[in-house]
Symmetry: C2
Subunit: 447 residues, 2 copies
């Protein structure tokens, strides 16, 4: 086979065969297809897309470019959740122990913050001592013993994806549905899962801002899951405002602890319960998503979810005393309330800009080598639809960058739209995508 | 500036500014923008194209990436011709001395065979001793003394194009109108010309097979020429059959000599006279293309064109005795007539396949490092519309690859379509493109 002919074939809009994809990606990983040919191919995929079959084969080839963890010897239906990334999205931290407490094993491999979004690994590592770099053996034994494991991707998993992802980042080829889907699913399928629930975000704070593109991605992800023989569901959820109140690593852990102890944060917990209900349903521990949601709620109310969180934190080396008494955590050099300059109703958040602002406070990385300050972040005091009076705090910001506080507070105010008329706030979970199609989702009033 | 942002800008269909193109290409030539970013950019250009202004700026940036030869101290309007490449296209060899004999200086920088097409440099080098690698000083002085110079591209000319062309070749990004146009025009404008006549081929034997794509290329080329302040015309000419009878380096030189001595090869000489007439018109030596054609014809009839050819061959080190007596040239190990197996009228040539067949005989390169056999080639005995009887030769093939003769003769027969009904053969020159638009071209009956 000839790399130029394969690039031209894709460029001309023709799907590649499995043999062709296997050869091309294999030669790329082995260094025989140079980066400049792969980047031309990736740009051609950006424009021409891939057929569903081709995307499934592409994912399968990336999956088998590295180690595929086999958890079949462990009992139970192993179910994971993946989110396409948002602002204030600490769902995984609450969800994973909650679902595990209901008897569904959760092998979860997470990533770091990317662009304006936060990453579960960075949040977990805000807990002093928490180890996310586990060997495959450790990963298996934590899952076996605790029922949940929270880890980062190892070097052995999907090396084709890792190399390709790095190249996409510097060649303007990130925003392609088949490339995103292949990247997500090759990593997820390598974890050893039996089933997967996907949280595909849309709205200003999501990577796929338009609903239709997010829906296309969700359909593609579910299609790949089905092709791989894994039960897969996706929910399309809104990212028109940060999820919950906290943005930033440690402050999101604190919000997690509060929610695990029963605090009501409506949008955050609605997403968490819906995803959890679906995981229980796929995991065979509930006869419907709705019944699964009720079981999840019981796991929160009974304190079992919180206990499971303490157990996994302890097992992965985290300082449990910080969870038991979050006030012990080090404090930022500056903590400043940001007061509204007018009265009215909050009708909009520039969510992506808030994510970038949190990075400026120190909560994320501008470049890969940046160090994350786990203390830095934003705690919103208001959500969409809330009334605010002039002089009342809209948010509190935490940072060690004292000289930037005033400037960043001003920027934060620009991220908030205040009007005189109240607005209709859409519920956070919009629709459900299964291999059979898309249906609107309405979260039950009682669960 | 950030290369990823420029790639994304183009990918999203937005034109780049001159500053952006200048920065991006400059950093590429300096090695700061790696090949993988340039190849993603080139693929984005393939899909998104460039505006006419952007294409002109792109060309200008490539032009000024290297040395721009200044011939302004030499008298006369310097005019060159460029062809997009065909099979049997020896026009330059006849045209350049013919136009120079009429008093228009012709500084001509040519290329080698590419794909299925032949290259003027390879044809010139079939003349034993002929030197095409000239220093800029030699190039100037040959032009000044002889009125015509026939050379290859030097390393100093348009290095951005040279690096980019090599990358396009291996990344499936050759077939893009702005990239082709920028590549051609940056090299041509670097030669020191005042005006340019373009021969843009269409049909089976051309790179741009469809007329509409060839027309788009012609318009773009003429637009760039106009932007650069050079008088530029283009003719769209048919490549439905090889031009003239000879395909292969030395046999094309022999056909050149015959035509310079007045032999009538209708399609070949019609193209040569039309292009020559246009060069004289642009060069200020004729008041119209038609008048220029008459003057060119006089230069052939008077023997002045042939004398000029001898002069430039001698001056550039070629063995003039071979021109005076072509029979002295070494002979191929095999020369085989290919006889028709049926009677009828020739209605079609697979022109591209004939070009590739000539390469198989030894006349061109499969890979860059191949050595060209100047003796190898094909002499057609018939053209489109000619009658052929069963057993009568359609062509003669020349090669040192004796064991392949039978196989290649069979292949040649497959390149020829013979029918019982005569066909209408279109004239070779189809239309004229000027900065003001396109018009059909009808070659006058008498000139």
């Amino acid at each position: 086979m000839n790399p130029v002919e394969l690039i031209r074939k894709k460029r001309n809009g023709n799907p590649l065969s499995k043999d062709e994809l296997h050869w091309f990606l294999g030669e790329f990983v082995d260094g025989n297809v140079p980066d400049y040919q792969m980047s031309a191919f990736l740009m051609a995929v950006y424009f021409r897309g891939m057929t569903p079959e081709e995307t499934a084969m592409f994912t399968d080839v990336m999956l088998h470019s590295g180690e595929v963890i086999d958890l079949s010897s462990l009992p139970g239906v192993k179910v994971d959740k993946h989110s396409t990334g948002g602002v204030g999205d600490k769902v995984s931290l609450i969800l994973a122990p909650m679902v595990a407490a209901c008897g569904v094993p959760v092998p979860m491999i997470s990533g770091r913050g990317l662009g304006h979004t936060g990453g579960t690994l960075d949040k977990l590592e805000a807990i002093t001592g928490f180890r996310t770099r586990l060997s495959i053996q450790e990963y298996r034994s934590v899952l076996e013993d605790v029922g949940v494991v929270l880890a980062g991707q190892t070097d052995e998993v999907a090396p084709a994806d890792r190399r390709m992802y790095a190249l996409r980042d510097v060649t303007g080829t990130i925003e392609s549905v088949p490339l995103i889907a292949g990247s997500i699913m090759s990593k997820k399928l390598a974890e050893g899962i039996d089933a997967l629930v996907l949280d595909v975000k849309f709205g200003d704070g999501a990577f796929m801002q338009e609903y239709d593109r997010a829906l296309a991605l969700a359909r593609t992800l579910v299609g790949i899951g089905a092709s791989a023989g894994k039960q897969t569901l996706a929910f399309l959820t809104a990212m028109h405002q940060p999820l919950g109140y906290a943005i930033g690593n440690w402050c999101e852990v604190v919000e997690t602890i509060e929610c695990l102890k029963g605090r009501s944060v409506p949008d955050l917990m609605e997403v968490t319960y819906v995803l959890g209900g679906a995981m229980l349903y796929l995991g065979g521990k509930a006869s419907s998503i709705e019944e699964g949601m009720k079981r999840c709620r019981s796991a929160i109310w009974s304190g079992k979810a919180y206990e499971k969180f303490l157990e996994v934190v302890r097992r992965q080396g985290g300082d449990v005393n910080l969870i038991l008494d979050p006030a012990r955590y080090p404090k930022s050099a500056a903590a400043a309330d940001v007061a509204s300059v007018r009265s009215g109703v909050i009708t909009g958040f520039a969510t992506r800009a808030l994510g970038l602002l949190a990075i400026d406070l120190g909560a994320g990385r501008r470049v890969v080598s940046d160090r994350v300050d786990p203390k830095a972040g934003i705690i919103l005091r208001k959500k969409l639809g809330d009334r605010v009076e002039s002089g009342e705090p809209i948010a509190t910001i935490f940072t060690d960058r004292k000289d930037m506080v005033e400037d960043l507070a001003d920027q934060l105010l620009e991220c908030v739209t205040i009007a005189h008329e109240p607005v209709q706030v859409d519920p956070p979970v919009h629709s459900l995508v299964t291999p059979n199609g898309v249906s609107p989702w309405t979260t039950p009033q009682q669960y």
